[in-house]
């Protein structure tokens, strides 16, 4: 019951997923959509486990007065406010004033700023790693640098640089991508096959 049934479920569902790819019938498309709905529904139920975990971690921090425990209050407050205003019937749910404003004025700006930190990290990473340390690193440096310099007006040098940049994008860049993509395809298909056949089962844990 603990291992055999789950492995059988994996096998049946996987097999269906493989076969449906080749069957264009309506009935199969419907079944596929129905099963995808299952994953969404299971995902939402699992959310409670996530929220519970978040509550527990932060509650324990506050209770133990461990370092930075005060900030855990902020997390819990944010969580509770969103959940309360979002779920209380008659408060407008997704259209609720607080829910929407916390989204637009807290979640969006912090996330967008976090994302924009990439401009800085891409610079520091380039500074540190783009060094002519070995043949390999020099190639990385060379093609990265050419593509970046393309942006900068360089007078008569601009023309040949842009030619080389286009060549790099057209030839080695493409070859590299295709080789990696094909490798990933085979690796993923092999792993998915092992999962389907129950050979790869680390996700079930032991006992």
């Amino acid at each position: 019951m603990k291992r055999r049934v789950p492995l059988t479920i994996v096998f049946i569902v996987s097999l269906f997923m493989v076969i449906q790819y080749f069957v264009p019938l309506d009935s199969w498309a419907w079944m596929y959509q129905y099963l995808i709905d299952w994953t969404i529904i299971i995902g939402v139920f699992a959310l409670l486990l996530g929220i519970w975990s978040l509550l527990r971690v932060n509650y324990e921090k506050i209770q133990r007065k461990s370092e930075n425990w005060q900030y855990s209050i902020v997390t819990l407050l944010g969580l509770f406010i969103m959940i309360i205003v979002g779920f209380v019937p008659g408060w407008g749910n997704l259209e609720n004033y607080t829910y929407q404003h916390l989204f637009y004025y807290v979640l969006v700006p912090i996330q967008a700023t976090m994302f924009s930190l990439l401009a800085f990290f891409i610079a520091s990473a380039a500074f540190r790693a783009f060094r002519a340390r070995s043949a390999l690193a020099s190639l990385l440096l060379f093609s990265g640098l050419i593509i970046m310099i393309r942006f900068v007006p360089m007078g008569p040098l601009s023309e040949p640089i842009s030619e080389i940049a286009t060549w790099i994008l057209q030839v080695p860049n493409l070859a590299a991508k295709r080789a990696i993509i094909i490798g990933i395809g085979l690796g993923a298909a092999a792993t998915a096959l092992k999962i389907m056949l129950g050979i790869e089962r680390a996700y079930l844990g032991r006992d």
């Binding site: 699992a46 999962i195 996700y203």
Partner: protein
Amino acid sequence: MRYKCIIAAAVLFVGLILPQALFAQEDAEVPDSLLAEVQLEPPPQPVVTEGVDRPNDNGHKLTVKWKYPEEGVDLIEGFEVYRSMSPDGEFQLRGQSPADYFEYFDIGGVDKSDPDYMANDEDYYYKIVAIGKNGVSSESEIGGPFQTSGQVFHTGKIPVLIGVVIFAFFTVYFISSAKKGKELYVRPLAGIEAVDEAVGRATEMGKPILYILGIGTAADIATIASFTILGRVAKKVAEYQTDLIVPCYEPIVMSIAQDVVRSAYLEAGRPDQYNDDMVFFVTNAQFAYVAGVNGIMVRERPATNFYLGYFAAESLILAETGNSIGAIQIAGTDQITQIPFFVVACDYTLIGEELYAASAYLGRDPLLLGSLKAEDWAKGILMVVFLIGVLTVAFGWDGIRELVRVNL
């Protein structure tokens, strides 16, 4: 294995035989032809020739074709296409076609509630009206019945099917030959060898280990591969009695990771050392998660960071922050856009397929390595196909190129 075969056969039976039986076609009846009203100087009459079902789809679409005399083309504005479910029923306008184009692709709705709905395996009759430039039109005789139907097998995908079957055969063959005790050589991968070493280093420094499973779902192959590696890392961690931090982005991934880590501690003989707070949920907003993990990094100062799984733009933010705290970083993802950033910012990167290889390598069961041999064989065959294909194309023969083409 045997009961799997039985189940497979059952699924195949239900899937392939049953719809055939349910949707068996009946013989169509021959319609009465109707004479179109003749007026003064009407353009020539179109003649409906055929209604062709599009292959390899779920039905609900039909191409109706007709013939029209050459001399008539200049006399007309275009055609109107009408459809009905019975020869003497009401015909509805489906669309127009230009004067010199003698077919119409009738796309019906798939859903019964759709007013545009077009049923599979039912008779449809078509009537083409040539609209004369002089305002007089002439109607074709009713054509039909035509039927549209869904296909059980998509023939355009045959190359994929063959690929899957051959590959599955290789995989199963090499795994079973590994089971029989055949030695399989696997070349060393720097990233894999670094895993154990990195755990040891953290222990010496008395610092924790951070393991990030990425932002994929538990159905992403990269995430599943990462679970296997997590199992290995967690076992080492338990043996060395180091701390492990696994902040998660997705609750199901978190649940599975908890099981994996708990099992690893059990296996290492220290089940009492495990607690659920090692593997916890942060948040499922992408950059909020990044903010949280960054905070953990700069405060807990892990000695080693693992980033294995599905990653998007956050890869470089995490890896650079990790670098700034001096952690040894081991990364691996199948997201091609993120690999360059890991390569630049981490100490070891498992590039694409190497992630799956690492998962097979570090799994508990060495037999899993058989699949690597299968992948190599597939690569070898592909390289041959590439070479022959390119050569034949260069010499002007398209046979191979068309053979491997998938027509969706």
